[in-house]
């Protein structure tokens, strides 16, 4: 299946990755400034609402990263091209980081709104499950030495984990609805759209810059594992004691 030929790595500094990340960071600064300083106060939640300008974009992009990971897993299983394994590793790591951030933001938002740090909100709980599921797959990658097995197994596990996400969401939603009537803000009125969109693109570009750079790192490591062994110094090729002396 997977032809154990090392993936080629692009020469030179990853300029595009840095450019994307830089652009993303700038957009984030702009969007956050707008959201924090210029946007009007929300009717019921006051200033706490401003957390949404970073929370909602993080949510969209975390989901996007893990969806991309799912795509990479499928691509690797169907095509066997190593670059998909590198991208899978990168997308999962970035996705886990964003999801973890999402849980922290959600918790910080929950305290002033509902008075508790955690309230089993379906979206937040599903995100926590996603963090655990995909961290587990990253851990799996560390404990498997054979690169082919590592790639196949993490692709399989990523597919199972991703397919499970909607099921987890619906079961928690159902389970929670019997206990509480909490509501998370579903709609955001138009006065608040711009900072949200800017931050969304900000995190999007930053995310793709990070995935690109992380994938390069994974590719370099794969090269070391799959490439031909480096030649040894000449002296090591001459067996000890063989001097060619026949006297």
């Amino acid at each position: 299946m997977a032809d154990a030929k090392a993936p080629p790595v692009e020469r030179g500094a990853p300029a595009i990755a840095y450019a994307l990340a830089g652009l993303g960071a700038l957009l984030l600064l702009w969007g956050s400034y707008w959201g924090l300083m210029l946007a009007p106060k929300e009717a019921y939640m006051g200033d706490v609402q401003r957390i949404m300008y970073i929370h909602v974009p993080t949510a969209w992009n975390a989901m996007l990263a893990l969806t991309f990971a799912f795509g990479c897993a499928l691509a690797f299983l169907l095509r066997g091209d190593w670059k998909w394994d590198a991208r899978l590793e990168a997308a999962m790591e970035v996705g886990v980081t964003l999801s973890l951030l999402l849980c922290m933001q959600g918790s910080i938002w929950a305290k002033p709104t509902w008075g508790v740090w955690w309230d089993w909100d379906p979206r937040l709980t599903t995100t926590a499950v996603m963090v655990f599921a995909f961290s587990g797959i990253l851990a799996l990658r560390r404990f498997v030495d054979d690169p082919v097995k590592r790639a196949v197994w993490s692709s399989v596990a990523a597919i199972v984990a991703y397919v499970d996400v909607p099921i987890v969401y619906f079961s928690v939603k159902w389970w929670n609805s019997l206990h509480q009537m909490q509501s998370t803000p579903q709609t955001v009125s138009s006065a608040f759209h711009w900072p949200l969109r800017i931050n969304a693109f900000g995190i999007l570009f930053l995310m793709f810059g990070l995935i690109s750079l992380r994938a390069r790192l994974a590719t370099l490591r794969l090269q070391s594992e799959l490439g031909p062994p480096s030649p040894k110094p000449v002296a090591q090729y001459v067996p000890a004691g063989a001097t060619g002396d026949t006297r």
Binding site: M1, L77, V129, M130, F132, A133, G136, I137, A139, L140, F143, V144, D145, K149, V152, W153, S155, V156, A157, I159, V160, A161, V163, D164, I167, V168, F170, S171, V172, W174, W175
Partner: protein
């Protein structure tokens, strides 16, 4: 046919290792006892949480069952030998998964009397309880067998299996606990059916997906 032969092999392996099953049952029963210490000697509270505890005990016991299920395949490179046979990997998977399902269901049913005694959690709807145990165990067995196949070949296998399995089976845990709780405490609004339906959907999706993917997991 192939599936019957694979199933026969796995059931035979489990029968030969039945001392292990007794040990796993003792582990599950001990867990049930220990969980009660988390609540304290409050009979009403214990009864309310009995469903959660029995499913946690079964979940923890399942890691032992599943990890052990590939033990014989790892010895003497038996797995490679099996794959050389003209049998589809799917048959191997379903044979193993069905045998694991049987063992987990058996464990679950054996833990019920322990739960009844320790938590005063009796139910007259015994058939319903057996049904939920069967559905829940199926939900644990399908992904569990797939991940056991992977982790039995990796390092740190004892840690990896629960790490991979537990997040995936959250819906099984939720639905089984809820349904069992309704059976024990009463179900005035007839919600058990919905939870059972959730379990059935999860089982259908998992059993088909895992069967499809198993071949890639064990190939060389």
């Amino acid at each position: 046919m192939h599936l019957a032969a694979a199933l026969h092999k796995d059931v035979l392996l489990q029968w030969r290792g039945r001392a292990q099953v007794v040990a796993i049952f003792v582990f599950g029963a001990t867990s049930l006892l220990l969980f009660s210490f988390a609540i304290g000697p409050d009979s009403a509270a214990l009864r309310q949480h009995a469903a959660g505890f029995i499913w946690l005990a079964l979940l923890l016991s399942s890691t032992l069952t599943l990890a052990d299920s590939f033990h014989s395949e790892m010895e003497e490179r038996a797995l490679e030998g099996l794959l050389l046979l003209p049998v589809s990997p799917g048959a191997l998977y379903y044979g193993k998964a069905l045998a694991n399902w049987a063992q987990l269901s058996f464990l679950g049913i054996c833990l019920v009397p322990v739960m009844v005694v320790l938590y005063d959690a009796f139910t007259t709807r015994f058939l319903g309880l057996v049904g939920i145990i069967l559905l829940g165990s199926a939900g644990l067995s399908a992904p569990g067998t797939l991940y056991a196949a992977m982790t039995s070949q990796a390092r740190a296998k004892q840690t990896l299996l629960p790490l991979l399995l537990f997040p995936i089976v959250v819906p099984v845990l939720l639905a089984s606990v809820k349904a069992t709780s309704l059976l024990i405490l009463g179900d005035p609004m007839g919600q058990i059916r919905s939870w059972a339906l959730l379990l059935v959907s999860f089982d259908l999706i998992c059993w088909s997906l895992s069967g499809l993917l198993f071949g890639r997991v064990v190939e060389d």
